[in-house]
């Protein structure tokens, strides 16, 4: 079974001198109905990765590298990317309020999407719109459709934003819950999980919250400084991380009943474009050795479990 989404050696650069590179040769794949989480700190390039795959980069960014959706190359030109977006790729942004056009009614925006994706007439589109609202568990669709975005609460807006996607086969979610209240976060996550089940969607979710990863993901990819440094099945990776960075991330998660200071990873990630020789994590790595400053490690290992490190952990659980 070929992958639903296949990315090979994707590179994203931005305008400037020197051109800052946000994503540096990333490869990943998502199978149908699979849920892949991408984890990393701010600046790791994870958001840009999502935007690049869907052709939504800002005007001063440029993406290179094959991105195949359902076997078809979509980064070739703007139109193929737009077509793909309409026919199978859904996108949920971090800022829900920012996703809805402020001067148009909710109903109009939903109907518009329904008409564009299915090519139906207005009547059928209105019915589809009601159905879309129902799918995201929003009550009273009729009155909701007459409202404007500024009349809804944050959580409701995010649900509408999710509803606005017309039956995607894969959902790209860029940190969809950080801007929300904690109680609402759980709801939205549950909703996303349910939708994946109901619609048979694959999910590509970017987050820095390992809790979400544990709850939702089948597979995880860890990004650092524009590269994937470790990838594997969620359960295995979270319990037995092989890359020092992953281990550091896991150790930094606060635990109930734990005492003492929170473990942190000292230092900060390099700024995009400030690459240097050798492993990019080396300056912060507690296990760095001579070799790490010389050679850049590549993602290696069995297909389901890759790690980019010269001295990957092979031991048991983290302390």
């Amino acid at each position: 079974m070929s992958a639903l989404l296949e990315v090979r050696d994707l590179t994203v650069d931005f305008a400037g001198r020197p051109a800052p590179r946000a994503v540096d040769g990333v490869a990943l794949s998502v199978a149908a109905r699979e849920r892949l989480a991408i984890v990393g700190e701010s600046g790791s390039g994870k958001s840009q990765l999502l935007l690049a795959c869907t052709g939504l980069l800002a005007a001063n960014g440029s993406a290179r590298g094959p991105v195949r959706f359902e076997g078809r190359e979509i980064l070739g030109n703007a139109r193929s990317a737009a077509a793909a977006r309409g026919r199978g790729i859904g996108f949920v942004f971090q800022d829900a309020s920012g996703s809805l056009t402020p001067h148009r009614r909710i109903g109009d925006q939903l109907v518009e999407v329904a008409m564009a994706s299915a090519g139906t007439g207005r009547r059928a589109a209105v019915d589809a719109a009601v159905e879309m609202l129902g799918r995201v568990r929003l009550a009273e669709p009729a009155s909701l459709m007459a409202r404007y975005p500024h009349e809804l609460s944050g959580g409701m807006r995010q649900r509408v934003a999710i509803a606005l996607m017309a039956r995607p086969r894969i959902l790209f979610a860029d940190d969809p819950t950080t801007a929300l209240d904690v109680t609402v976060q759980a709801d939205i996550l549950a909703l996303l999980a349910q939708l994946c089940e109901d619609l048979g969607m694959a999910l590509l979710i970017v987050t820095h919250d390992l809790g979400i990863v544990a709850a939702l993901a089948d597979r995880v990819a860890v990004m650092y400084a524009g590269r994937v440094v470790e990838v594997g099945m969620a359960a295995a990776l979270l319990s037995r991380p092989r890359h020092p960075y992953t281990a550091g991330l896991l150790a930094a998660v606060p635990r109930l009943g734990g005492r003492g200071e929170l473990a942190t990873i000292p230092g900060a990630p390099p700024a995009p474009g400030e690459w240097f020789r050798g492993c990019r994590f080396a300056p912060r790595c507690p296990h760095r050795a001579e070799h790490c400053g010389v050679d850049d490690p590549v993602l290696a290992g069995p297909a389901a479990r890759g790690v980019a490190c010269h001295f990957p952990h092979t031991g048991s659980d983290t302390a």
Partner: protein
């Protein structure tokens, strides 16, 4: 409904401004050193006193003001001091239709030229078309009406002979073409720049990216999502645009010999005809206020958020 309440509120808000215009104009003209009869041939004191009494100029200021406002409310602007046979009201009515037609046409033309130009420039950002259009726009703003008008007359009226040079024959629409175009160019240039800047700004908004992310065709994104938001500042500009057009109409009417109000106003200004100048200023101000009101309503129609009750 909320809309009617909104309209009423705006109307009520406009009244104080109009009242202020009336008061201020009155005050200023009464402050003038000397009176309207100073520049006549030297009059014997008794005759002058009679004249002043006839026009009510011997009363205290506040009484005069009261009488004037009373007259206004009845539609009576008082007599013209210089055109003895006419009242100001008659002169205004005589010129208003032409001035209105001229002004309205100019605003429409300005919008029809400026908005598309701005859109094209924004969509072609960075390319030659954009820079060219914006340079032309700056030129448009820099060339004053009283230069454009003679130039247009020279080119289209004299050299090419396509359009009439001056004059006004009712029912001959070509008479209005040159004046309207001359009047519309500067506002059109400003509107073009405004539209371009506004559209570029809107296109950077996150909800535009979200609309694209939903797979909507680019045409829909621009027309239904970006444009209404981008046009908001342009519509708000209607106020200053009206002022510019009305001011320019003075020049245009003078140059082309159009029988509008502007001609009378200029004459009145040169003759120090107070009631005439005052009356005209009030009418022009009322026109501007009306246009501002329309612009406000259009803004509310474009962006529902402005319709809410909000402390200003």
């Amino acid at each position: 409904m909320a809309t009617i309440a909104f309209v009423l509120r705006r109307l009520l808000g406009a009244i104080p401004t109009l009242a202020l215009v009336v008061a201020l104009s009155f005050l200023l003209t009464r402050l003038a050193p000397g009176g309207p009869f100073d520049e006549e041939q030297v009059l014997p004191p008794e005759i002058r006193a009679n004249l002043e009494a006839a026009y009510g100029l011997d009363q205290p200021v506040h009484v005069q003001f009261g009488r004037y406002v009373g007259g206004l409310l009845r539609g009576d602007f008082g007599p013209s001091f210089k055109f003895r046979d006419f009242t100001v009201g008659e002169l205004i009515a005589d010129g208003l239709p032409v001035s209105l037609a001229l002004g309205a046409a100019a605003v429409v033309v300005a919008l029809a030229l400026g908005i598309p130009a701005g859109i094209v420039a924004a969509l072609a950002r960075g390319h030659a078309a954009d820079r060219a259009m914006m340079t032309i726009a700056i030129a448009g703003i820099s060339i004053p009406v009283f230069v454009v008008a003679p130039l247009l007359v020279l080119v289209f009226g004299i050299w090419l002979g396509w359009l009439p040079v001056a004059g006004w024959v009712p029912g001959r629409p070509t008479d209005l073409v040159l004046p309207v175009v001359a009047l519309a160019l500067s506002p059109a240039a400003f509107i073009a720049r405004l539209t371009r800047g506004s559209l570029l700004e809107v296109l950077r908004a996150p909800w535009i990216r979200a609309a694209r992310a939903r797979g909507l065709p680019e045409r829909v994104v621009i027309l239904r999502h970006a444009l209404p938001a981008a046009l908001l500042p342009v519509v708000s500009y209607a106020g200053p645009a009206a002022a510019s057009v009305l001011a320019g109409s003075l020049v245009v009417e003078t140059l082309f010999g159009l029988p509008g109000m502007g001609r009378h106003l200029v004459q009145g200004a040169l003759n120090r005809d107070y009631t005439l100048v005052m009356g005209m200023v009030i009418v022009y101000a009322a026109l501007m206020i009306a246009l501002n009101l329309l612009a406000d309503l259009a803004c509310a129609a474009l962006d529902p958020r402005t319709r809410r009750e909000r402390p200003r």
